[in-house]
């Protein structure tokens, strides 16, 4: 079976953020999948991936939590591909996969906790974890996407922001940097490729993998606000109308600190922030509400109307 066919039906692991602040990412991912004829089967009774909180306290417990998601997919649903649109979840499942392949102690801990929890222990290599970008890029591709576009994104200048966890640390993503066609860890381009196929004009954006301060947004809000403000201003200087995101933590951080920068620092940056799935969905002819634009913190409707997307 080719990768293209393999990704047409995948186990969907939305993760906690997509049920909360990132709900519009959840909605738009599902809507785009449906519009493209791709099948998402949500992982049964999924749990938290361990995020950063658990990982910092006990990395092996995080490995177990992520492994359970993969175990359910393969052992209870007979699925061999798990798609995680959240960078944190994607990163953690990849990290668990790496640990279980290279660290016997992790294997032992996962076996012990799986037994205690009453499910089969996950074994390295049983599933392939992919991001929503891989999912669309490899199952539909740029040509397939371009053929399906109903409302071109032409005239929209986009700064693609990938955040810091999509490509780091490099060793847990062995499929990246694997030659032509693969994703790059230093200059990721899958989101750029997909949005360009839908007609958008991507700008050169030097902070596409820079830190947004997401994880210390509560413990050190001022630094997070300054980091986000810098990202917004750099995107604006690069000529962008929109920052496209593919991570719920980055996205909500950008939106909320955009507002906080205005209130606390008195600095306003007029740039829209949308999930790449929202942009793709509208390019495929879906209404803004179908892709959850109304669930975003900021209101881009005037801009979307100007660009003929609403």
């Amino acid at each position: 079976m080719t990768t293209k066919d393999k990704y047409k039906k995948v186990a969907y692991y939305p993760g906690c953020a997509l049920e909360g602040t990132g709900h519009s990412y959840n909605r738009s991912t599902k809507a785009v999948g449906k519009a493209l004829g791709l099948d998402l089967v949500e992982v049964k009774n999924w749990n938290c991936c361990g995020a950063m909180e658990v990982k910092n306290i006990d990395p092996k417990l995080q490995t177990y939590l992520s492994s359970r998601v993969m175990s359910v997919a393969v052992n209870e649903m007979d699925m061999d591909v798990v798609m995680a649109p959240c960078n944190g979840c994607y990163h953690n499942l990849k990290k668990a996969e790496y640990d279980l392949k290279h660290d016997p102690e992790s294997v032992e801990v996962v076996a012990k906790l799986s037994k205690k929890a009453g499910h089969k222990s996950y074994e390295s290599g049983q599933v392939e974890t992919i991001h929503a970008l891989d999912w669309i890029k490899d199952s539909i591709g740029e040509e397939g996407l371009a053929e399906r576009v109903k409302n071109s994104l032409s005239g929209i200048k986009v700064a693609n922001y990938y955040g810091c966890m999509y490509t780091r640390p490099r060793h847990i993503f062995p499929e990246k940097d694997a030659g032509p066609g693969s994703e790059s860890t230093s200059k990721p381009h899958f989101m750029d490729d997909l949005l360009a196929a839908a007609g958008a004009e991507n700008v050169e954006f030097p902070l596409k993998t820079a830190c947004c301060g997401g994880a210390h947004t509560l413990s050190d809000s001022d630094t997070s606000t300054k980091l986000v403000l810098n990202i917004l201003k750099a995107a604006k200087l690069a000529g962008a109308d929109v920052i496209a995101t593919e991570c719920p933590t980055c996205h909500s951080g950008l939106e909320m600190h955009q507002i906080r920068a205005e209130k606390v620092l008195g600095e306003t940056v007029d740039i829209k922030i949308l999930y790449f799935t929202q942009l793709l969905g509208m390019a495929l002819g879906l209404k803004p509400r179908k892709v959850g634009v109304h669930e975003n913190v900021s209101d881009p409707m005037k801009f979307l109307k100007q660009k003929g997307l609403a």
Binding site: M52, K55, N56, I57, D58, P59, K60, L61, Y64, V109, K112, L113, K116, C164, M165, R168, P169, R170, S186, K187, P206, L207, T209, A210, C211, G213, G214, A215, H216, L218, S219, D220, T223, K226, L227, N230, I231, K233, A234, L237, A238
Partner: protein
């Protein structure tokens, strides 16, 4: 070595529009100073070596030794080197002032990242760990002993 907070002010004060070439030189130097702070805080002597023609990249490599999470600013350092080259190797380009301004923003990002990271230095597996803050409060999950 000047205080870190002074570097933030110095980066903000750079006039990228009037003299982009001078701005590029200053910003590269300020970025090196930021990394000198990080390396010094970890108890090392900042290197004077260069990688790919840039001391900045050698300092980054030194700063990431034993702390892979510091690679979260690797591309930021490389973008600084790239924009420095754009400004200094094509000074007559119509976008030179904008490129210098972008260099200022990328340098500022490096400053913000490193200054934030210095506060939580080396105590998380990934970059934005708040573990020291919890540790200071004697945080105890009580969940991990059995694992």
């Amino acid at each position: 070595m000047r205080p870190l907070a002074d570097i933030e002010l110095a980066i903000a004060a750079v006039d990228a529009q009037t003299d982009p070439l001078q701005a590029a030189e200053e910003l590269l130097r300020f970025s090196e100073e930021v990394l000198e702070h990080w390396v010094t805080a970890r108890g090392d002597e900042p290197t004077h070596d260069e990688r790919e023609g840039f001391r900045l990249l050698a300092l980054h490599r030194q700063g990431a030794r034993g702390d892979p999470s510091f690679n979260a600013c690797r591309e930021t350092c490389r973008e600084i080197a790239w924009h420095y080259n754009l400004v200094t190797m094509e000074p007559e380009h119509t976008q030179t002032a904008n490129r210098a301004e972008m260099l200022r923003m990328v340098s500022n990002h490096l400053y913000l990242f490193v200054s934030g990271k210095l506060q939580v230095a080396g105590l998380g597996e990934f970059c934005c760990s708040a573990k020291p803050i919890r540790s200071a409060d004697n945080f105890d999950s009580g969940t991990t002993k059995e694992a």
